[in-house]
Amino acid sequence: MSETDSIVICGLKKSYRKDLPPAVDLQEEVRIRKGELFGIIGPDGAGKTTLFRLLATLVLPDGGSATLEGLDIVRDYRKIRTLLGYMPGKFSLYSDLSVRENLEFFASAFGQDIERNYALIENIYGRLKPFENRKAGKLSGGMKQKLALCCSLIHSPAVLFLDEPTTGVDPSSRRELWENLAELKESGMTIVVSTAYMDEANRCDRVAMMKSGRFLTVDSPSDIISGFGKRLFAARSDEMFRLLQDLRAVPDVDKCYTFGDTHHFTLRDCSHADAAVLASQLASCSGHRNVEVKEIRASLEDCYMNLEEK
């Protein structure tokens, strides 16, 4: 491994039960650089959480190996635990302890005190200060998330894992969290984050799209978008639901899905139809009114939707 790699995964496999397909089944080698903000996106059940749990030394892999900061996840788990911050998707702090008590407890669990690394969490904890004596269980969702982040940062980890940190958090808190992550990244911390929001994935240096325990693609968001090899259209009409069904019936259309207030669809490779032809076809054959069809540039979400069912 090179000096600049923080996480190196050399194939990694984990099955929970013999009669089920493996939860994680990475076959290629994945390297995550030091100070990289690495995103993992994938549908529910893709194996994101299991991958985190494997790397966080909570479960043992069935095959393959991985290192964090040069330490093996099986052999050197004890050392890894001192330099790893892990924030699980589910709120898992002591809800019957106060904000301050939680922070103090997690600091002492790592043999630290709050003061030493306070600078690291100052920005985040500042928002929690007024609620310092409130029980953690009584905080709002966004505040809980902030506290959880503080608790996983209090020992100044070299590597930070965040499992869906923004699920169920309001948009402004989400934005704040990503600003915080950007700051942490500046300090040289390696951050791996899983998310279901594509706009967030855009903020990552690189993104892995995960499905059925495998990485389908690992690349920067812009490269993923430019690698989108199909023509993509957006369509709308007065009857959106019928439009979706009618679009799916058009032979030229490959995949069609709702996207905000429009429907996006791709064409089959052999098709040469263009937006105007498709629009008039929908208006005349299916009787749609106010049909609008235009060719658009793919976004990360389009890439995700088209990858998913490969």
């Binding site: 892990y86 709120f91 702090l93 002591y94 019957d96 669990a109």
Partner: protein, 368 residues
């Protein structure tokens, strides 16, 4: 601070930060010790008695007087035929009938023996049996006194004198109270740590601990020791109530009692850990725990004597640690037994504590 230290402090903060748990810790032993022995009393008092006096002599009057003064019986009615008394009995107004046959005084003065008839309603078997027992012992006392005072010692009828040692008045309370002290230990020393560990599992906080450098050993020990101390506290509370309210342990050595309580707490801690190893939810763990605790309580002589069980289940009690613990508590409290007298029970209890904790550690390791 050592990791054990702050884990212990965290445990204390969680426990005492909860408005409910400290109250339970105090109320549980207090209510259990104060209410249950009073309510669940198997002592027989105030047995309703009907006397059928067919003799109508001074002797029968003296006997009736003697019985009603004993304190165990309430003389409900004096009937002149057995049939009327039986009527009362079947209506439930009367528990026991004593029939003094005609000519008793004359027969006794002649030195003949007379049969006095007792009929007891055994629907409430304890009351019937114990009441009948009391009554016959009063009657036989009376008859021997009479024989002695009549200057005719040869005619003293042969009789059995049961002597109830260590609990002369057959007070069920004294039998019950040590049992309740065990229940307190089981609830505090067994349920509390199990529930605490499983709650951490449910909330996912145990995962946060697992990704930290905190050792599992310290994590578990902090709980078992913290709740062990609470167990000792609750046990002390119930011991004080037993002593000052029920006058228990006039003979007992404190050291004997506390050593056995400590060993039993270690057992319960390990046992609770095994339960928590195999359960993922609070509900699961509480049901599992309850299942075993019921067996511990109902099958090991805590509430009913081992000697009155079926033979196979008497052997079964040897694998229940509560059998040894209850035996130690009763022997020390009622008889004033010492370590030497109870060596077998102490050894068995310790063996259980060690074995169960080894199993607990092994099953804990197997996870993940």
């Amino acid at each position: 601070m050592s990791s054990f230290g702050y884990l212990f402090i965290k445990e204390a903060k969680q426990f005492f930060g909860n408005p409910f748990m400290p109250v339970v810790l105090v109320l549980l032993p207090v209510l259990l010790m104060l209410l249950v022995p009073l309510a669940a009393n198997m002592e027989v008092r105030d047995v309703s008695l009907s006397i059928v006096d067919l003799d109508r002599s001074s002797l029968s009057a003296r006997l009736s007087d003697r019985i009603s003064r004993s304190g165990y019986f309430v003389l409900k009615s004096v009937e002149d035929t057995y049939g009327k008394a039986m009527d009362q009995l079947s209506r439930g107004n009367v528990d026991i009938i004593l029939e003094i046959p005609a000519g008793t005084e004359r027969a006794v003065s002649r030195g003949e023996s007379v049969e006095i008839f007792i009929a007891a309603n055994a629907v409430n078997s304890t009351k019937g049996m114990m009441g009948g027992g009391y009554l016959s012992s009063i009657v036989s006392d009376f008859s021997s006194e009479m024989a002695a005072s009549g200057g005719n010692p040869a005619s003293v009828p042969l009789r059995i004198t049961p002597q109830y040692r260590f609990n002369p008045h057959l007070e069920y309370k004294l039998f019950m109270v040590p049992a309740l002290m065990i229940v307190v230990i089981i609830l505090v020393g067994g349920f509390f740590p199990t529930m605490s560990i499983v709650t951490e599992k449910e909330n996912g906080t145990i995962e946060q601990m697992n990704v930290s450098p905190v050792r599992k050993r310290d994590f578990i020990l902090s709980k078992v020791i913290f709740y062990g101390i609470l167990g000792v506290f609750a046990f002390t509370l119930s011991y004080l109530i037993a002593h000052f309210v029920y006058g228990l342990a006039p003979h007992g050595g404190l050291l004997e009692i506390y050593v056995s309580a400590m060993i039993f707490l270690v057992f319960m801690g390990g046992f609770g850990l095994i339960i928590s190893n195999y359960s993922d939810t609070l509900l699961q763990s509480v049901f599992l725990m309850l299942f075993f605790v019921l067996i511990f309580m109902l099958m090991s002589g805590i509430f009913t004597p081992v000697s009155s069980m079926e033979t196979w289940s008497q052997y079964f009690t040897y694998i229940l640690p509560t059998r040894y613990f209850v035996n130690i508590l009763r022997s020390v409290c009622l008889k004033g037994s010492t370590f030497a007298d109870l060596a077998f029970d102490y050894i068995m209890l310790s063996v259980f504590a060690v074995v169960i904790n080894i199993i607990a550690v092994v099953t804990y390791r197997k996870q993940n």
